[in-house]
Symmetry: D2
Subunit: 330 residues, 4 copies
Amino acid sequence: MNLVLLGAGRIGRVHAASIARHPRARLQAVVDVDRPAAESLAAEYGAKVVDSAEAAVSGPGVEGVLVCTSTDTHVEMIELAARYEKPVFCEKPIDLDLKKVDACLQKVEKSGIALMIGFNRRFDPHFRALEQRLAAGEIGSLEMLRITSRDPEPPPMEYVKVSGGIFKDMTIHDFDMARFLLGEEPVELFATGSCLVDGEIGKAGDIDTSLVVMRTAGGKLCYIENSRRAIYGYDQRIEALGSGGMLQAGNPSPTTVTRLSEEAVTSDKPPYFFLERYAEAYRAELDEFIQVVAEGRAPAVDGRDGRAALALAEAATISNREARPVKMED
Amino acid sequence: MNLVLLGAGRIGRVHAASIARHPRARLQAVVDVDRPAAESLAAEYGAKVVDSAEAAVSGPGVEGVLVCTSTDTHVEMIELAARYEKPVFCEKPIDLDLKKVDACLQKVEKSGIALMIGFNRRFDPHFRALEQRLAAGEIGSLEMLRITSRDPEPPPMEYVKVSGGIFKDMTIHDFDMARFLLGEEPVELFATGSCLVDGEIGKAGDIDTSLVVMRTAGGKLCYIENSRRAIYGYDQRIEALGSGGMLQAGNPSPTTVTRLSEEAVTSDKPPYFFLERYAEAYRAELDEFIQVVAEGRAPAVDGRDGRAALALAEAATISNREARPVKMED
Amino acid sequence: MNLVLLGAGRIGRVHAASIARHPRARLQAVVDVDRPAAESLAAEYGAKVVDSAEAAVSGPGVEGVLVCTSTDTHVEMIELAARYEKPVFCEKPIDLDLKKVDACLQKVEKSGIALMIGFNRRFDPHFRALEQRLAAGEIGSLEMLRITSRDPEPPPMEYVKVSGGIFKDMTIHDFDMARFLLGEEPVELFATGSCLVDGEIGKAGDIDTSLVVMRTAGGKLCYIENSRRAIYGYDQRIEALGSGGMLQAGNPSPTTVTRLSEEAVTSDKPPYFFLERYAEAYRAELDEFIQVVAEGRAPAVDGRDGRAALALAEAATISNREARPVKMED
Amino acid sequence: MNLVLLGAGRIGRVHAASIARHPRARLQAVVDVDRPAAESLAAEYGAKVVDSAEAAVSGPGVEGVLVCTSTDTHVEMIELAARYEKPVFCEKPIDLDLKKVDACLQKVEKSGIALMIGFNRRFDPHFRALEQRLAAGEIGSLEMLRITSRDPEPPPMEYVKVSGGIFKDMTIHDFDMARFLLGEEPVELFATGSCLVDGEIGKAGDIDTSLVVMRTAGGKLCYIENSRRAIYGYDQRIEALGSGGMLQAGNPSPTTVTRLSEEAVTSDKPPYFFLERYAEAYRAELDEFIQVVAEGRAPAVDGRDGRAALALAEAATISNREARPVKMED
């Protein structure tokens, strides 16, 4: 299966490596405005460099497109794939603007192509196991859901400035995870936050520490806690309370080695970096996309999921700015 | 040291047992409107039964008073102790009504007696260790605080009806814990909840599943999650994130025995009942009161703490009812 | 119930405190060759000091005797209690010499008194739970048993010199635990060891690091690992493998507080001292003795148990010295 | 780098997959007496099938040989590689007969080829981390080492019969691990065992449950516990006690998901199968061999290591049979 990669940055390289390791897929072409980046990546995996996205997508034998460019070009790239009727995988978010997303999704729908959104955490083995056991009724009816998601350190300021704010950049993953697990849509949301980690983030109009509380029509409560700093590592945990018990998914540990010393019992801290933490998730995500292409079926995470998470992020942005709960019909 | 116990119910019995085990204290008299309860308790510990609280409090040699009666009589009992200038220990809450509490505290202040409030969790060895290590700067500056507090099952409906609602009855402990750990007062609060456990609770105008989000003037975020049902036991945990790391206090385990079977690795669930979970806390709390009496000093948890936790519970009640954030100056 | 305490040293003080806390027991008299020690202990608990053991044991109303004197006087004290037909609790070991033990047990048997041996670990809640779950068949048929028992640091050299060697002093507890759990007697044993912790121990003819391997008639394997040094605390663990799974009992943790820092995840180390680790076990052990006295029944751990553990310790001493397996019929 | 695979069975397939995933290596040829097995494997990875080992090893461009045939042909295959001066990787054990091994190693030495032995556990990330931290002095001087190694279930009886017995087949891995960690050679050994899992194993003259105790010249103690049955999974753990503390390496857990129910807290059991448990170790092991070939250097685990582990296994076999400790000079 010939795949085209648009964007040869950090996340593009992750997917290129997954394609190389996959027995059914081949990286055909790489496109990037940063030509040397495209060339280096293409050379590593025996792909060719193509100058324009359109030339690459419309190339002979292309079966699928991966969009790993900067967020502001996602819609354009998706629409390009739609025009040439190629299944497309796009990194989150589709766009920072809901109206642009809606227009894009309409075009996708008309074209009939499969659009998969890169909410990689759904493919993490720990969270997936939790979801399956929840669905299997292991804790009865879900009542409270806590999602902890903390980055080890803030991203560079130039990234913060174009990120759309913490809710659209970081919490959006957790909004998707909430929807994945809740089994009903949140109908109301309250968000609040502070700038405690880096004053520069505050000057840029953003926050770095936040809490979001959501409720569904059925009264289920969900809260998401984010921080741009957790010096002990990339902290990604979920806790689900139900009528029949609790399920927790914790942080994996690089090794099982424990040391007992005169001072304490010490064990490994969580992986520091998201690429390390979600290595398996990225592989499983790419595998899903390859199956989607091969079987011509709808993906497990589609454009509507991308849209719904963005709508929650938008509501959280408003709730935090106006210090009031926001209804999702608002 | 001669102590008088007002109220021979469940919590009164806990304190009577602690007094009996304490090398410096003696249970002199027990008072309860339920005379047989008073008699049985008095007989067990060699105390006498006295008909009226006033007679007991004013008795010869009385050095301290424990108020373990129903909430609606707390103020009356505290004021009685104030009148006779006896140090008094009172179970939480002082009252469900802030104005009555304010009036009572004024009288206490005038009398000069020590008033200690029964926020037992401050004396739990796990939470106390967490507080001390937080204060020692082990995680730098505190940024986020999570308090998990779930009962294994709802109290009887007759109790729910007079409890003042989940925030004044159950969350009040967590409000005190938040103040104990935050090191600054919450200035704003948002509370929400659902009735998911028992429809009867909803019919009584209360909720059984709730979330409270608070922020301090310094921007620290704190959230409290409560449920009236956790079938795996009495779930009491704290997690504090700071600029320099995280401290967690989990549930203790009755035994360290683990079993590895064909199905899973299984270990003990948390203690089911609060008396079991907080056995050590109740002993340490009583010890603090005995030291307060002996040394004539102010208690670690006083009437102002009781008042502050109630004010937060009042604000949470309003926030949940009116679906809006509430400022603590409101 | 009036109890007499022979020996006011460290372990005597532990039992005196348990008696004081017990609702059914009273410390009547204390005897110690170190008169000031006896006086201080007696004063603390309202007991009287008696000059001779015989005067104390034969005193009016005495219902039970606790022997906490030095090992070389245990037999004499047990026989004294037998003469006056008082139930007796004796710290381990009965004696270092098997023949003296046999002669003593004959006298005890003739007298008909109850003799309980202070193998306190049988009363530890963790090990007791493991034993009950093993007996309940949770892991099918037991096949391998590991007992880990390490002291935080070596005892004083003057103690080492009269201790009878590591197997009779330290491993004896583990031999009893093995018998408690195996459900069959060991029939063969191999012991080996080194002097790695303190050269002085070696000069005294003893070892400080040892391994004992035992097998029962039914082929069950059991091994005991001891060290006189575990700088992280008092390490006491058991692991039982059976046809249907595994049961493990680990070290308890003083608090549940965990810290995640830039370096590692750290939690509490085990209790450092045996009095702390086995506090509950000592209370439960004394409670058993009080029930034995009250009900006139045989104790859970009797003289034959004391004899059997000593016989294994003797065999281990020979095995290690002669570098060969020893059969228990030897 | 062109590699030749001799043996297309279970472990051969593991290495073939690692070669395919490796950026620097290519599977050139596969040899197996079971021609269809060789063909299926060759087809999967684009290799050719060669009829004789000699033809494959002597083929043009061959840079390294992997020996994954049955144990009784290992020596022949190693010597073949030596003849053609190709670096060779051989699965453990080299042979069941020490004299044959010695003769083979002499030929290897003369030829100057690199011989790497497949003690895969040295490459497990958990055990490797433990080894590195031990070597870094984290627990001071090593005093006791425990190696737990239990299979989930016995192998087929036809395998047991040609395996050379539990010590040469199963414990041999642990003997290598002991040598890897101890830092000194064991000088004395005592082994014992029982047939508790399957009577057929006993009838074949073997045991299924065993204990080995070893001591080094420096007095360090090491014990290895094996069982052919651990119904909870593949149990592989190490515990090292030193003068400065303890290091433990436990079993990894497939997911971090924990469930709290009315009955217990349950988490994942260890992986059931060795291929799953040691997946990373097999990859790292193959990577080491590829580096050995590329750099023309000596491997981390060589023929002398294979010989030493076998000698310990031989000594254990004698010790268990004759019920006596065996000195390694014997």
